[in-house]
């Protein structure tokens, strides 16, 4: 049973609700690959992107159209009433009367929650500033479910664990499944203590290291994230750190056979191109899974109305 009207933050979801979404995604996967569907025929999705995120927008648009629905787009916020000083709340009030469902991306944290407060249609958060991006987390979970296993998972989260909200949200969601999480990051980008203690309180086995070599041989999933240059005041420090966490094919020789590598993309140079051809690479598959997961979310919120 799925009764959530809006998709705002992973914290809103129980394990059972997440499982409903993942199951729905599996059901809809054939349609993501091109099988004809009229499931959402006659429905309109409004895409309100106040920040550019071409990949996310295309992915939602694809999901809607593959299910027979239509999309309307706000081309650029500069050309719209936002530039004339209209509040986001007013824009949402208007657009939610046009469309059956609204996907919002906005620079302010919490904007999607506020939008949900004033909207007459379901709101799906496609990223609010440094805040939440629940469909990213859901597609990460779906990838793990399809390509590995969610229960008894051993996963390493690698890279920027301090500012990277993607990994915070994923770690939180995995806590519902009782994962073993290894945190691998440079000293400067360690996961904040309050998040670690929250995870431990939720029964997650959390360990921490600065060395990639410590985890490669025993994990089921390597979840790699980008280390951003801006986080380092000293560019040479960045070069040194970024190099330390680069995944290359030779590094994977001790990995488990069925170990998979994920990355939310776009990658810069965290994963060498020679990894793409290994049996471990799943990041492009992961990107594709964004389609069935967004299909699932769209169809569930439209049914739940």
């Amino acid at each position: 049973m799925f009764t959530k009207k809006h998709i705002i933050s992973m914290r809103d979801f129980s394990k059972a609700e997440i499982d409903v979404i993942l199951k729905k995604a599996e059901e809809l996967e054939p349609f993501a690959k091109g099988k004809k569907s009229n499931l959402l025929a006659g429905k309109i999705l409004a895409l309100l992107f106040y920040e550019p995120s071409t990949r996310t927008r295309l992915s939602f648009e694809t999901a809607m159209k593959r299910l027979g629905g239509e999309t309307i787009n706000m081309i650029s916020p500069e050309a719209s009433s936002a530039s004339k000083g209209e509040t986001l709340a007013d824009t949402i009030r208007v657009v939610s009367e046009y469309a059956d469902v609204v996907v919002l991306r906005h620079s302010k944290e919490g904007s999607a929650r506020m939008a949900a407060d004033v909207s007459s249609a379901p709101i799906i958060n496609a990223g609010d500033g440094a805040g939440h991006h629940p469909t990213q987390t859901l597609l990460d979970l779906y990838t793990i479910k399809r390509e590995s296993h969610l229960e008894n998972l051993s996963i390493a989260l690698i890279g920027d664990l301090k500012y990277g909200r993607t990994v915070h949200s994923l770690a939180y969601a995995l806590s519902l499944y009782g994962a073993k999480i290894s945190l691998v990051s440079p000293e400067q980008l360690k996961m904040p203590d309050e998040i670690k203690s929250d995870l431990r309180k939720r029964g997650v086995d959390v360990s921490e290291t600065t060395k990639l070599e410590d985890v490669i041989s025993h994990v089921d999933v390597l979840y790699v994230t980008r280390i951003q240059k801006e986080r380092f005041p000293d560019p040479s420090e960045y070069q040194k750190v970024a190099g330390t966490y680069r995944i290359s094919a030779p590094l994977l020789k001790d990995a488990k056979d069925d170990m998979i590598i994920m990355h939310p993309l776009p990658r810069v140079d965290e994963i060498d191109a020679d990894v793409d051809a290994t049996k471990h690479a799943r990041y492009f598959q992961q990107a594709f899974y964004g389609i069935p997961v967004r299909m699932a979310v769209l169809s569930l919120v439209l049914e739940a109305r």
Partner: protein, 154 residues
């Protein structure tokens, strides 16, 4: 100062006792009664107390504050007690308990939070009780305020 003056009894109204020393004015601020009421309100600070060393007391005359009005002061004065006075006698007495949700009292510490913009949003926090007191989580951006809540009052 003479003792009688400090603890001059009121005939009818509410006495908030056992406020942590120095927090009386913040209690008034949270209650939002100053400037919005005709009631005689007095605050006494640094009163010697057996249990607390020093404490503050706030008295609101001719107004009985309901628990839902005063519970939010538990955020900054968790040990406070509320005494409802009728005809100079304490008729009801209870301890404050933090509410599960507070609205419009605390400002989110995240400058990029939607509640800190011109959007029509009232700040809203869920209140979690834990060992060290209370922790506030912004309903919008989920940023946590766990210490010095006083500094985040509007």
């Amino acid at each position: 100062m003479k003792k009688e003056l400090r603890v001059r009894p009121i005939k009818n109204g509410t006495v908030i006792d056992h406020i942590a020393a120095g927090q009386a004015l913040n209690v008034l601020k949270i209650l939002g009664i100053v400037g919005r009421t005709d009631a005689v309100v007095s605050a006494v600070t640094n009163v010697p107390s057996k249990a607390m060393g020093k404490k503050d007391i706030v008295k609101v005359e001719d107004r009985e504050l309901a628990p839902h009005e005063v519970d939010k002061i538990a955020l900054i004065a968790p040990s406070a007690t509320i005494n409802i006075i009728r005809e100079y006698k304490v008729k009801e007495k209870h301890k404050v308990a933090p509410p599960n949700m507070i609205e419009g009292v605390v400002k989110c510490a995240n400058p990029n939070c939607i509640s800190n913009t011109k959007e029509p949003v009232t700040s809203k926090f869920t209140v979690d009780k834990h060992e060290k007191g209370v922790q506030l989580r912004c309903v919008y951006c989920e940023r946590i305020i766990s210490e010095n809540i006083v500094e985040h009052l509007f």
